[in-house]
Amino acid sequence: MTHLVEMKGIEKRFPGVHALKAVQFDLKPGEVHALMGENGAGKSTLMKIMSGIYARDGGEMFVDGNPVSPDSPRAAQDLGIGIIHQELSLMNDLTAAQNVLIGREPRRSFGRLDEAALNAKTAEIFASLNLSMDPRTQVSTQTIARQQLIEIAKALSYNPRVLIMDEPTAALNDTEISELFKVIAKLRADGVGIVYISHRMDEIKRIADRVTILRDGAYIDTVGAAETPLATIIQLMVGREVTQSAPVIPDTSQNPVALEVRHLSRGKEVRDVSFDLRKGEILGFAGLMGAGRTEVARIIFGADPRDSGEILVDGKPVNIRTPHAAVEAGIGYLSEDRKHFGLAVDMTVRANIAMACMAQFTSRAGVLNETAMKDIADKYIGQLGIRTPSDVQQVRLLSGGNQQKVVIAKWLLRDCDVLIFDEPTRGIDVGAKSEIYALLEDLAAQGRAIIVISSELPEVMRLGHRIAVMCEGRLTAILPGGADVTQEQIMEYATQRDTASRFSEEVL
């Protein structure tokens, strides 16, 4: 049968990086073809070549058997190729609808916009995604999860024949993911070819037909998804076996309390949240999208003001109004949004890793000790397997997962007594994930108190010694971790809405 898209011998070089080495890839109509590989393997680069953003250095590409070289996103669109990028690139000041239909606004005479039609059309697309969002909401007010959904809606609005999804679910929750999979199933039935990139291994089994594996920029193999065990795929990706150490939950109930949060409130987002965190403990935070977990963390960290409530560190009340004060008090926070809140992407890997600890590398006269910084950066590059030509590479040139590792390195270096990790493994490959889990467990064993917020339930359950569940700004439960808890239990609390909002829902 003819391939929708076929790529052969694709080559791509960046300064200092041979990103793709004679890679081949093909896509049939109506299939979901997963593209797998470690962070920095070259997945996004290959897809950017397919969608006309990068020019290839060598190789051939065919659409419907005809040789093509899309030289712009527009040209790729004309070939029916659409892409959902790994990094969000929305126009923050515009509304959701204005973003979705940018460049294709319904017009009236003289270039006048038909805003009503614009919103209606977008509402339709949102409805097909089962997404409840006012098309008129401004994008910048939305969490990244919801922004990701807008990106998906935007890509769908082109009615592409080939849809590339580069880690669409990294920011999503299980419920949103299953909605997305329904959409994918529908598209597949319509004969659309889908390239699917994800580091969530379970998803591969759920939706992929075939899997192509890249390693170090080289093509490894293409296998059937159904007949290949996950372990084999992982081994092909990583080139070695990944051992999943079984989690051990230490007894921390006698440890002193490191962080105490009392009746924290802020508007509708956070309502009367109280919990304790002991030294040596990892507290997982679960909840649906917009449950308020990020907001709780930001308030504790002083990034957002609170309406009321108290925070105690080591039993003493602290008045934290700025992140600076928080860090001084021994609290660190890794943001869920690395691009906006985690990294200075134009700066080097080294500078970013050192950012939270500059004092450590500064002489009394204020002169920087670059050698010490380099040593530290190299240490973390090795430890976390950050794929970069050197420690002075600009972070923006790294692959998404490697950027995330840089943020993690920054906070590991800072070594705070209380560490809050918000979606720490977003976009990180399986191999690296288990390394990071081990690191977090190490830190806890050393007596650090850790909060892990994650939208991946298995991750929360894997790491959390206890699991806090939030719903609509309220802390609905703190459950025991490990084998004592099931996904169903967590979901029950995560959807335990209070009567007031249920009532208002019914009225509307």
């Binding site: 126009m91 515009l94 008129r136 959904l149 909605e179």
Partner: protein, 335 residues
């Protein structure tokens, strides 16, 4: 994707307002406070004639501020508006006085000249990837020089075109309502503002202004011909500058070739005071108008109070900072 709590009606309303103006205009309060303050400080301030003088003084800077607003929303800047205004006035002078054509040609010449100059800046920015600051700085100097060359470093008077000075000085409204002799210049300012606001909020061009300022790369990746739109936006801004050229020429009944330098800073200041962000993506015409009014009221009020000139400058600086500070506070509270 589960349904989440839906927003209450109140916020829907505010969202509609926000969508219309893209940002609430808070500078308005500062303007009112200034007006009240000056009325108390000086009995002569609140006369109709003085209010008209303030409006008249706002007209040129207001129109320039509107032009600059469009460019700033795209994330650019336009330093050439002052000398471009002069250049348009000089061309009008050439058409009307040197060539002796009828007035309408002079008007067309001004607007067209502005649009062409704007398109040039736009081309430098879009096609040659020159930073807007440099492209328009270059244009500023080029147009300044050309104004002097073309006019022979002499003012061009419009004495041969009776009625030309009516463009700004006459009062159509005053003819209908003698009690309210609002000069045409002010009327034109408000018409330009209304049209610009309409374009900004209701047309594709306006949409791309905001989009380009928000995330140009993403607009480009969506397959929009960003270069073409950028040139169009700069050209539109240029055409509006052409109108400012007409206004000032009419007000002075002459094209003053040396005038213009420094006007760009004042126009940009009005825009920023009005709440438009220099990093692009956000801004309102109404805000810029209010910004221009704040500057005019401030200057006029201090003069009417007979504050010594050196202190006028000090106080103006301080009040600009305070007004914007008050704004920031109110904006913070309201969010």
């Amino acid at each position: 994707m589960t349904t989440t709590t839906v927003d209450v009606p109140k916020s829907t309303l505010s969202r509609i307002i926000a969508a219309g103006t893209h940002q609430r205009v808070l500078a308005f309060a500062s303007l009112i406070i200034l007006l009240i303050g000056f009325s108390i400080a000086s009995p002569n301030f609140m006369q109709t004639s003085n209010m008209l003088a303030i409006l008249q003084a706002t007209s040129v800077n207001g129109v320039l501020a509107i032009a600059v607003t469009l460019v700033i929303i795209t994330g650019g800047i336009d330093l050439s508006v002052g000398t471009m205004m002069t250049f348009c006035a000089v061309i009008t002078g050439v058409v009307l006085t040197y060539a002796g054509m009828p007035m309408i040609f002079g008007i067309i010449a001004a607007v067209l000249t502005g649009a062409i100059c704007g398109a040039c800046s736009g081309t430098f920015v879009a096609k040659m990837a020159i930073p807007p600051f440099i492209a328009t700085l270059g244009m500023m100097l080029i147009l300044k020089g050309l104004s002097l060359v073309i006019s022979g470093t002499r003012p061009i008077y419009f004495n041969d075109t009776p009625g030309f000075s009516e463009i700004s000085r006459g009062s159509l409204i005053g003819e209908v309502m003698p009690a309210l002799p609002i000069p045409n210049g002010v009327l034109i300012l408000f018409i330009v503002a209304a049209v610009a606001a309409y374009i900004l909020n209701r047309t594709v061009l306006g949409r791309y202004c905001f989009a380009l300022g928000s995330n140009e790369e993403s607009v480009r990746l969506s397959g929009v011909n960003t270069d073409r739109w950028k040139i169009a936006i700069y050209a539109l801004a240029g055409a509006i500058v052409g109108i400012a050229g007409l206004l000032i020429a009419s007000r002075l009944n002459s094209a003053q070739p040396a005038l213009g330098l420094g006007y760009e800073l004042e126009a940009i200041a009005a825009v920023v005071i009005g709440g438009t962000s220099l990093s692009g993506g956000r801004g309102t015409i109404l805000g810029s108008l209010i910004g221009a009014l704040i500057m005019a009221v401030l200057t006029n009020g201090l003069r009417v109070m007979s504050v010594a000139q050196e202190w006028q400058t000090v106080v103006t600086g301080a009040i600009i900072i305070l007004a914007v500070y008050a704004d920031m506070m109110r904006r913070k509270k309201s969010s």
